[in-house]
Symmetry: C2
Subunit: 701 residues, 2 copies
C-alpha cells in the first residue's frame, strides 16, 4: 500500500477538532486552512457544530463519505475507538498526533498495541502516535502543529523527534530552505522509517531524503531498501543515541572490536547513506544535493574578492582530500583579459577587493567553462565597493546558464550580505557560513559520486561442502555446545575451501614423533581436549619443535603437567601439526549484529589489531572488490602490499578468504561469532593457511 | 614602546583627508566622526580648507602640535615624505592605510623599505601599510574604513587580511559580538603580530586575543611571548596557508616526518594557543572565552525541552571526551519536585515540550547548584507553548546569579528564536547554531584549562662534555662536512651521557676476533669508512656473530668484497661491537624548523614509524613531563608500557634520552637534523643503548 494518501489526500478529517486557540485540535485545523489546502476538510467533534467556519461533524460516519486522511488528536484512551470508526467508513490513512502511548510506560504501551491491532484488522496505516504530523508543501497540506508550511523544495525530511522538527521548520523559514515533505514519525507504531524511505524513493518531487533517527527497527531490510534508493536519491541521516550500550560480552576479537557505532557505519557505507554529525551539517549537505548537480569529479575552483578567505578555502580543499583545480592556459589567458593586472588568474581566482558584480560575472563564466573544473566555490567579503546583492544575482544567473557544474557560495559577513544570501538561496545556490562548510559539502557530494560509481555487486559463490557444516553445527546445537572446538572448526573451514595446517592426533610420544617425521620439521604440538579452550594458558602449545626427540619430550611434558593443572579435563591426546611461518599473520572475523546481520572484520595480526585496533568491517555477503576495499581501509595496508623491498602478500588470496568466510556466515546464521586467527598469507601465488579458528554458534529462531 | 597611542590616542590626524565620499581619505574621517571619537581630529590635505566640518591643514607642521596618532592614506610614493614630517613634528604612531607596497612587487618593496627606514630613523612605529586600520570601540576610535564601530566587548582581533576583517565586522554586528580592539595589520612592515599580542596581553579590556595569520615572522619569539600571555588570556588563532611547501629534501626520519604543519601544531600546543580551523569556530570559541568563566572540570549537564536534541548533545559530549555529568541524588530529588512526573530528572534534564520559562528557571537553578556539574548547555526548540525570549532572559538571569559555572546556549530554529538569541548574546550567554558547536567549544575550553594546569616547566640540565662536541662539530664544519660519521656521532652521544654499544676498530681478522672474545658473543661487525654511509647496502654489516672463527670469516669477506664494490672508498677497518638485542627499539630525533627551532621527535621503531607515522613532536628544550607526554601521545604507547604480560620498558629512561637530546640540540644550533635510531630500551632500571645515530650539521649565522 502506498503512502500517497498521507501526502496528497483529496480530503482530510481532524478528529478532535477544537474551537479553542492553543489546543492542538484547533491548531491543526488552523494550519490546514492557513496552508491553503485545496481539498475537503471535515472537522469531527460531537460537542461542537462549527469550527473556524467549517461544519463540524459528530463522528466520521456522519460525514457521509470516507475522508482520505484522518488526523486524530483525541486523548489516548479514545484513539482505538476512532480507528474502528475509520475502519467502518473506509478511511485507510491515519495520523495519530495524540501522545500518552508507549513513551509513557506500560499502560500506554498496552493502549498503543490495541490501536495497532485495530488498525491492522481494518487495513489501516498509521503514522505516529505521539508525533507532530505531516506537511506536504507541494500539496499545500499542513496536517501538523509544527508551524507554518515551508517553501516547496526538493528535501523530504523525516524526524523521530517532533520538537526537532519545530526547530528545523523555523530554521528553514529563516534560511529559505524548501521541502517536498516533512514527517514527524513519533513512536513509529505502524509506519516506520523503512516504509517511509521506500515511499519517498518513489516520489517525483523529492530529490534528497534526510532524516533524524534514534533507532532503526528492521536494520537488514532498511539497508537493502536504502541501497536501492541511494542509487537515485541521496539519503542523509543523522543517527543519534549510539552511546554507552555498555560492555558487550564477547569471546572473539571481532566481537570486542565491533563497537555499538560500527554496525551503523558499516551499513551506511554499504547503502550509500551519507551520515551527518549534526543537523547543521545535514542541511549544509541537503541544500547542495537538492539544488545543485553532483560534481563530476574532485577538482574545485575558488573565486574570491579577498586573498585570506581564498587561502582558507584552498587549505580546506587540500585537507579534505579534494583536488585544487589547475586551470587551463586558455582559462588563465581569458581571465587575464577581463581582470585587472593585480588580480590572481590562478586558482584561487582573486577578482580583487574593488570587484563589482560584472567582474565576478566575467570570471565566473570563464572558470565554469574550464574543463578541469568540476565545482566552484564563490567567496565574497563585503568590502567598501562590493555589490553584494547584485553579485548574488550574477552568481544565480551564471550558474543557471551553465548547468552541469556544482556552484556553492560563501558570502561572509552579516547584515551587509543578508539580502544577497536570500537571493542566492532562492536562486538555488547553496550558501555556507564558512568556506570550510562549503568544502565539507563538496566532499560529501564527492563521496556519494564515488559510491554511485562503485562496481556492480556480484557476490561469488564458491563450491563448498555445506552438508558437512550442517552436520557439525547441528551436532553442537543438539548437545547445547556453543563453542566449536579446534578440530571441528578445522573441518568447517576445510568444507568451505580454506587450507588448514596438516597434522594428526597422537596418543603416544612415539606416535607423535612418527607423525612429525612424516610432516617434516619444524612442527607444533597442541594439547587436544574439548575442555581446554585456552591451550597456551596451560602450557598446551609448543611451537618450533625441530626433532623427533624434542617432539617426544614435549609430548610427555604436556601429558604429565596439564592433567595436574586441569584434573577434570578429558585429554584426547596431542595434535602434531606442520608449522606455518612463512608469511604474514592476519585475522579474518565475523560478528553478527542483532539488527544488521553478519559484520565481517579484517585486521593485521599482532599489535595492529590489539593496540591500534586497526581493523575494517563490512557487511556480509561481500563482493571481491568490497573484500579488497576492506584491506585497503586498514592503516597498515601498505604492510600487506609490501614496503621497502618486502614483496608483500597475495592480496587476492586474502580477499578470497574474506569472501569464503562471507559465504559461510551468510549460509549459516547459527554462527554468531568467529575468528580465523591467524590466517597466514604468503607472497603472490601462495596458498594462505587458516591456522586456528574460534566459532560460536547459537540456535536461530 | 607601548602601542597605546594606536589604541587610545588623544588626537588623530588623517593625512590625505578627502572631501569626496567613497574615497578612503573621506571614509576614514567619516568613520572617526561617526564613531564619536572624543579626541581632537586633524584632517591634512594641502588642497582643501575644510572636510566634514573640520578645518583641514596643509601639512602636519601647520597643526602646531603633534597628533598622537597619524593615519596616512596618501599614495604610496608620498608616504615616506609624510613619515619624515611625522618625525619633524614628533608624532610617533602611524597607521599606513595606503596599498601599493611590498604586495605589488619590487618597486613597492623598495618604497616600503624606504618608509620603514625613515620611520626607524625617527623612532616612529608603523601599523600597515596595506591595511584597513585600527578600531578601539572602548575609546570610540574608528581609524579605519572597515565599517561601523562594533560593540564593546572582550575580544581583541588582529587580521592579516583586511577583507576578512570587513566580513568579521559585518558578522559581528549581526551577532552582537563585542570587541576591545580590531587591528588590520596588512604587510606588517614594522609592527608585527608579536608586538601586537604583547601589547594586547597587557590591555585590561581584552579578555581573549584572536587572530587570523598567514605567516609568523619570528616564530621563536612569538611562541615564547604567547606562552606568557596564554597564562592570563587565551589566544585563539586561525593560521592559514600551511599547504604544499612541496617535498622536503630530508636525510633523517625526523625530517621527513615533520610536515609543514607540524611546527605550528607543536608550538601552538606548547604556548597554549588554541588553534581554530575556521573563522566560525574561532568566534564560537571566542565568545565563550570572552563572556563565560572557564569550566572548572569536564562534567557537562544538558537542559532541554526536547529529547532528540538532548540525545544529540549527549552523543557529542561522549565523542568529544568530555564527561556527561552524573547528577547527585539531591539534584534529582530537587528536580523531581519542580518538574512534571514525565520529565527526565537525569542528565540530559528534559523539562518537556510544554515548559514555560519558569520551569527552565527552576531546573537551571538546581542543576547549576550541583557540585558534579562544571558546565551547562541549555537547549531550546521553539515548540507551540515555548516562551523563547522569556526563557532567554531567565537563562541570562540565572547564569548571572550563579557565576563560576560555564553556561552555553543552543536555541535551535530561526525566526522564532531570533529575539531570544539577541537577548542571550547581549546577556553574555554564548549561543550556538548546533549542540555540537557548543560541545566543541566546551572541549576547547577544557583543553585550555588543562594547559593552564600543566606542571611548571623546569628543564633539567645534565652535566655534559660540551667542549668535546664543540671540537667535533667545529672540525666537521671547517672541513665542509655536513654529515657526521658513526664514530664521531658516538662520541657526541657519549659526551651527552648516552650509552653506546661497546666495541673497537679492528684492522686484522685476528684483532677482530680478539676484540670479540673480550666483548663476549654475539657481536656485530661493521665496515668502517668515511666514504660509506649506507653500510648494509654494500654488505658492510653482519649481525649475530657467535664465535671467533665466524668473526674472522666475516672480517675477511668484508675486506675482500667491499673494495671491489667501492674501489674509491678509504677503508679504515671493521668495527667489532657488542650486540644489543634485549629491549624495544625506538627512535629519538630532531628536525630544526627554520622558524621555530628544534622540533624533537619520538617514535617507536619499525612499522609504527615507517607505515603508521605514529610519532610525536615537541619543541626543545623540553621538561621531564613534556618528554613523557611525547611518549604518551603516540598511539603505540601501550606497547612501551607493556601489554598482555609484557613488562614494558623503562619509560623514564626514554624520557631522559629525549631530555639529553633536547639539551644537545639546544646547545648546538649547528645541528640541523639528527636521529638516534635505534635507541634500545629495556625493562625498568636498565640502561638504554643508543646504537646508531645520524647527525647533520650546518654553519649558523
Amino acid at each position: 500500500m502506498s503512502l500517497e494518501s498521507f501526502f496528497s489526500p483529496k480530503s482530510v478529517s481532524v478528529v478532535g477538532a477544537s474551537r479553542h486557540k492553543g489546543k492542538v485540535g484547533h491548531e491543526i485545523l488552523a494550519s490546514l486552512l492557513a496552508g491553503g489546502y485545496p481539498g475537503e476538510v471535515f472537522p469531527v467533534n460531537p460537542k461542537v457544530e462549527e469550527v473556524l467556519g467549517l461544519k463540524c461533524y459528530p463522528d466520521l460516519v456522519s460525514i457521509g463519505k470516507p475522508p482520505e486522511l484522518v488526523v486524530i488528536v483525541v486523548p489516548a484512551e479514545f484513539v482505538e475507538a476512532v480507528i474502528r470508526e475509520c475502519g467502518k467508513v473506509g478511511s485507510k490513512s491515519v495520523v495519530i498526533i495524540t501522545a500518552g502511548f508507549k513513551e509513557t510506560g506500560e499502560r500506554g504501551r498496552a493502549l498503543e498495541e490495541a490501536v495497532v491491532k485495530a488498525a491492522r484488522a481494518n487495513g489501516i496505516k498509521i503514522i505516529g502516535p505521539n508525533c507532530l504530523g505531516v506537511m506536504s508543501p507541494g500539496d499545500k497540506l499542513n496536517a501538523s502543529f509544527g508551524g507554518d508550511l515551508p517553501r516547496v523544495g526538493g528535501i523530504a525530511y523525516l524526524s523521530q523527534s517532533g520538537a526537532l522538527m519545530t526547530a528545523i521548520l523555523d530554521m528553514a523559514a529563516a534560511r529559505d530552505i524548501g521541502f517536498s515533505l516533512l514527517l514527524s514519525i513519533g513512536n513509529k507504531a505502524d509506519v516506520d522509517e523503512l516504509e517511509i524511505i521506500k515511499a519517498l524513493g518513489q516520489r517525483p518531487g523529492t530529490k534528497v531524503i534526510a532524516g533524524y533517527l534514534e533507532s532503526i527497527q528492521d536494520g537488514d531490510a532498511f539497508v537493502r531498501q536504502a541501497e536501492i534508493i541511494s542509487q537515485n536519491k541521496p539519503i542523509l541521516l543523522m543517527k543519534s543515541g549510539g552511546t554507552g550500550a555498555g560492555a558487550r560480552a564477547a569471546s572473539s576479537h571481532t566481537g570486542s572490536l565491533a563497537g555499538s557505532e560500527t554496525a551503523y557505519e558499516v551499513i551506511f557505507d554499504r547503502a550509500g547513506i551519507i551520515r551527518c554529525d549534526s543537523i547543521k551539517t545535514q542541511f549544509d549537505y541537503a541544500q547542495a544535493f537538492a539544488d545543485q548537480p553532483i560534481p563530476k569529479g574532485p577538482n574545485v575552483a575558488v573565486l574570491t574578492n579577498a586573498g585570506g578567505p581564498g587561502i582558507m578555502t584552498a587549505d580546506a580543499i587540500e585537507r579534505s582530500g579534494l583536488t585544487f583545480a589547475a586551470l587551463t592556459d586558455e582559462t588563465k589567458s581569458a581571465l587575464s583579459k577581463v581582470l585587472p593586472p593585480a588580480a590572481n588568474i590562478h586558482n584561487p581566482v582573486d577578482v580583487l577587493g574593488d570587484a563589482l558584480a560584472d567582474r565576478y560575472e566575467a570570471a565566473m563564466n570563464i572558470v565554469l567553462d574550464d574543463p578541469n573544473v568540476h565545482s566552484v566555490v564563490v567567496l565574497l567579503t563585503p568590502q567598501a565597493m562590493t555589490q553584494c546583492s547584485e553579485t548574488a544575482r550574477i552568481v544565480v544567473k551564471v550558474a543557471g546558464a551553465k548547468p552541469g557544474k556544482t556552484v556553492l557560495a560563501c558570502f561572509m559577513g552579516g547584515r551587509k550580505v543578508e539580502e544577497a544570501i536570500h537571493i542566492l538561496r532562492r536562486g538555488a545556490i547553496p550558501q555556507y557560513d564558512s568556506p570550510e562548510s562549503a568544502v565539507a559539502t563538496l566532499k560529501a557530494m564527492q563521496q556519494y559520486t564515488r559510491w554511485l560509481a562503485r562496481p556492480e555487486r556480484v557476490v561469488r559463490l564458491f563450491p563448498v561442502n555445506r552438508r558437512k557444516v550442517e552436520q557439525i553445527i547441528g551436532r553442537h546445537l543438539r548437545r547445547g555446545e556453543r563453542e566449536i572446538g579446534e578440530m571441528a572448526s578445522k573441518e568447517i573451514l576445510e568444507a568451505y575451501g580454506f587450507v588448514t595446517p596438516k597434522g594428526s592426533l597422537a596418543t603416544t610420544a612415539e606416535q607423535a614423533a612418527a607423525i612429525a617425521d612424516q610432516l617434516g620439521y619444524p612442527v607444533v604440538l597442541k594439547i587436544w581436549s574439548p575442555d581446554i579452550i585456552h591451550k597456551s594458558d596451560v602450557g598446551g602449545v609448543k611451537v618450533g619443535i625441530n626433532s623427533a626427540k624434542q617432539v617426544m619430550d614435549a609430548f610427555d611434558l604436556m601429558m604429565y603437567r596439564i592433567p595436574k593443572k586441569m584434573p577434570n579435563a578429558e585429554i584426547m591426546g596431542v595434535l602434531v601439526q606442520e608449522m606455518c611461518s612463512a608469511g604474514k599473520e592476519v585475522i579474518l572475523g565475523m560478528h553478527r549484529d542483532p539488527r544488521f546481520g553478519p559484520l565481517l572484520m579484517f585486521g593485521m595480526g599482532g599489535i595492529t589489531v590489539e593496540v591500534l585496533k586497526d581493523v575494517a568491517f563490512y557487511l556480509a555477503p561481500i563482493t571481491a572488490s568490497e573484500a579488497k576495499e576492506m584491506l585497503i581501509r586498514t592503516k597498515t595496508y601498505s604492510l600487506l602490499k609490501g614496503v621497502r623491498g618486502d614483496p608483500g602478500v597475495d592480496i587476492d588470496a586474502v580477499a578470497e578468504g574474506l569472501q569464503r568466510l562471507s559465504q559461510l556466515v551468510t549460509e549459516f546464521p547459527e554462527i554468531k561469532e568467529m575468528d580465523i586467527n591467524p590466517f597466514i598469507v604468503g607472497p603472490q601465488g601462495s596458498t594462505p593457511i587458516a591456522v586456528d579458528a574460534r566459532i560460536s554458534v547459537e540456535k536461530t529462531d
